[in-house]
Symmetry: C2
Subunit: 494 residues, 2 copies
């Protein structure tokens, strides 16, 4: 985004896309430009862009199920907490919406700009501030990519054990309380955040905690900001707990006649207390998708419901014992084609099908079709039932869909292929997702296991919680952001 700050003096060319005009509650175009001038004057050298390509890449994503026509008015790229604070102060002064932007990997439209405003891109804040290996923690800026982080700290023998999209930044991971395949063993993002530094709407800066791994001092502000999707404050620094990299790993795969048997085996594996690192389920369709796109790990796969199991431990023998236990349990539940891998190469090969699942689905798309990827979570025992029901429902609606489940958490993803130009198909996919959400709620589950609410699931959250519970959330939002300037229109309507 170099040399784009001069764009401020250019006419705004993308107006026709802004179908929802800047409302009376927020700054109009002229006032927003004034705010941007003040930001430029206050922060020497700050990158400010009105370039249509930048606005597009900060307001739309190909992989998102929640795109809207509006785009941010401008993109700014601060480099320090102080700069974010200055931006917030000025945006509050002029009533300009602020949309924190991380890696843009959200599928629920977290970074969209329904009321336009300024996209605050934090990707220049990408420093590892301090690795405290002896304390098993690390302090990072929000723009740090988690894969890079783990690569850079691996000599310490420590790692951050979350694994969302490999493109994700820590800031976004915190803001959405992300997780991934490791959540069964290691929990979700909230379990790894020691403290956050947050810029509030008015520009004031707070740090929610110091650096103890454990505390019971005062309200848990850390957990309030984790998962708040940028609507309560802008996270500008994070202290993360780190875990010890296990010294021994193993991977196993096994197939089942149906999702039901696979889920039953998974349940037994969990209840036996075997310390699994991950327990993933892919359905027959997803395995077909893998094969149709050329297989994975250098081979073709049985097209059946398949469990992918990762083991880890502090000794080779513990991992081997656990793998034997898992094989025995799987067999008792109809598991076949049991394969074990202990060498890195073999493990990568076995895990490849799981790893490539979403990409395989994307690769299979015909020109113009898109993937609607969504997730819900239910109590563990209901997993097989909701997957079966969702498969049947999408099939009835004439949709092609595959299922991947973080079965150790009761959390699963359905990826549905559809043509957005086809109104009937678009309506069907929406119905399919709504049905899945409704069934998850009937089972006492949640409308989002790990993707967040964003703009795409606001109507679902209203079904999940009582009006009084949502009123409490709204009152917290109102208290911390009285002018509703922080990522407005996300989580709930303001």
């Amino acid at each position: 985004m170099s040399n784009r700050t001069e764009a401020l003096s250019k006419p705004v060319v993308e107006k026709s896309d802004h179908k929802q005009p800047l409302g009376p509650r927020y700054a109009d175009e002229k006032t927003t430009l004034k705010a941007l001038e003040e930001i430029k004057a206050s922060i020497k050298g700050i990158s400010v862009s009105l370039d249509p390509d930048d606005l597009e890449s900060h307001g739309y994503a190909e992989w998102s199920a929640s795109n809207i026509p509006e785009r941010p008015f401008a993109v700014v790229m601060p480099t320090t907490t102080e700069e974010v604070s200055t931006i917030a102060r000025i945006c509050t002064k002029y009533k300009v919406p602020m949309i924190p932007f991380g890696a843009g990997s959200s599928v629920e439209g977290h970074f969209t700009a329904p009321f336009t405003g300024i996209s605050i891109d934090l990707s220049k804040m990408n420093k590892i501030v301090s690795l405290n290996a002896d304390d098993m923690d690390v302090i990072v800026q929000p723009g740090v990519n988690w894969v890079n982080l783990n690569d850079q700290i691996k000599e310490s023998g420590l790692f951050l054990p979350l694994d969302p999209s490999p493109t994700a930044h820590i800031g976004g991971m915190v803001a959405t309380n992300c997780s991934g395949t490791n959540a069964m063993r290691y929990g979700t993002m909230k379990d790894w955040v020691v403290n956050v530094t947050v810029v509030l709407a008015d520009g004031s800066v707070i740090k929610t905690r110091r650096r103890p791994r454990k505390t019971s001092a005062g309200y848990n502000l850390t957990c309030l900001f984790v998962g708040s999707e940028g609507t309560l404050g802008i996270i500008t620094e994070i202290t993360l707990k780190l875990a010890v990299i296990p010294s021994s790993y193993g991977v196993a795969t096994t197939t089942f006649p149906s999702v039901k048997e696979a889920a039953a085996a998974a349940s037994k594996l969990i209840r036996r207390g075997i310390p699994l690192a991950a327990l993933e389920l892919m359905d027959d369709v997803q395995m077909q998708v893998i094969n149709k796109t050329g297989g994975a790990g250098g081979r073709m796969w049985p097209e059946k419901a398949t469990l992918f199991i990762k083991f880890s431990g502090s000794t080779e023998s513990a991992v081997r014992d656990n793998m034997e236990q898992a094989q025995e349990i799987s067999k008792a539940y109809g598991g076949a084609d049991f394969e074990l891998a202990k060498s890195q190469e073999e493990m990568d090969s076995l895990w490849a099908a799981r790893k490539q699942a979403l990409w395989a689905m994307l690769a299979l798309r015909e020109e113009g079709t898109e993937i609607w990827s969504t997730d819900v979570a239910v109590p563990l025992s209901r997993m097989a039932e909701i997957i079966d029901h969702s498969k049947e429902n999408s099939s009835k609606l004439g949709l092609f869909s595959s299922v991947m489940g973080h079965v150790g958490d009761g959390n699963f993803h359905q990826a549905v292929m559809y043509d957005p130009r086809n109104a009937k198909q678009t309506a069907s996919v929406k119905k399919c997702v709504d049905d899945m959400v409704d069934m998850a709620l009937e089972m006492d589950g949640t409308v989002s296991g790990e993707h967040g609410i964003g703009i795409g699931k606001k109507h679902c959250l209203e079904k999940e919680l009582s009006p009084d519970a949502i009123a409490v959330m709204r009152s917290l939002k109102q208290t911390l952001d009285p002018h509703c300037l922080l990522n407005p229109g996300k989580i709930f309507d303001n």
Copy 2:
């Protein structure tokens, strides 16, 4: 408390104890009586007591470091969420302070009544509502004792892996975000709460979540109420995750020349990633205390800094391997007297000294002396330093004190003996605790690892966090409890 409801018509005999009169902000005595009459009229058969013994047991505790002269005006014992809701509605109508009361095991004065008001004793709400073994969760009322819970559900192969005081109730454990020796492996209370049902100040009832083990839908209200010490709402039902009872255990003890070497060995044990279930440290003084009170586990102990290590796993061989690894590491750091136990009897015997530590200290008190028990937590690498410093400091101040550390969490307790009738000694113990707190903060730690703030550590919390961070906490309190009726005077001054 049977047959005490008629006490309402008796004169209030304990007035002389209420040094802090009912302020203008809260209901006066006449209005409080009116509120109690309305509670009695609205809730058939509710237990309401003004008996001085009940007021005493609900406003004072021998083991607390934060006793105050005031007592609650009355004690009520609701049996359902609806009854608590009615009480809250009436208390709000008449501006009567509400103090939720669990088992009364707090050491920081959480259940005290600085502005008198009504103690809402939840111990009659002691039902296990529903055990969902296949979902690995359980729904309980707040008055359930955690030891009883684990005893009643053990057939399922599941347990709640927290271990605070054996007298603690789940409600209080949630309200203070408790932990104990298992926190290293299993985390703290917040990590085991799926949802809470909360009665808000005005009597409205919310449930923070449904029953998924994992979610990223909306603000994390659950974590906001966990650890809020009854100041944001009254918790009346809790869904808890459960863990699988490990099939194999082991215990080891080993001594070191000093706390420093013990802490260094502990650090290495953690960094090797050995899946320890607990890692506890007791200093030479604490071991002397054990011996002076007759030993523990049927024998006398070396009077040296000692590590108590608990192992658990899914196979016997994994636990044995881990015990061997631990022994090897301990020896490398000067560990001696290494003892291993695998049978239940031997394990109980080895763990007995750790288990009896606080009771041994209490037993050693001379007539009239008390124990000031407090805790802080620091980043892992600073543990030895702060323990050494605190030992030295208390010794300089002429105080007898012992140290127990949850060394796997950087959390430790110092128990200091003092005579509350001796002004100089009381001043010394306060200075000793304040110094420890200050040092923890200098090390980027917290003023309370697991006991909470209550009334005793309000001045410490103000040192831990910035005024802006505390202002955010206050604003949340103000939003949810605008008349400051919920456990007023706790965490911070209102």
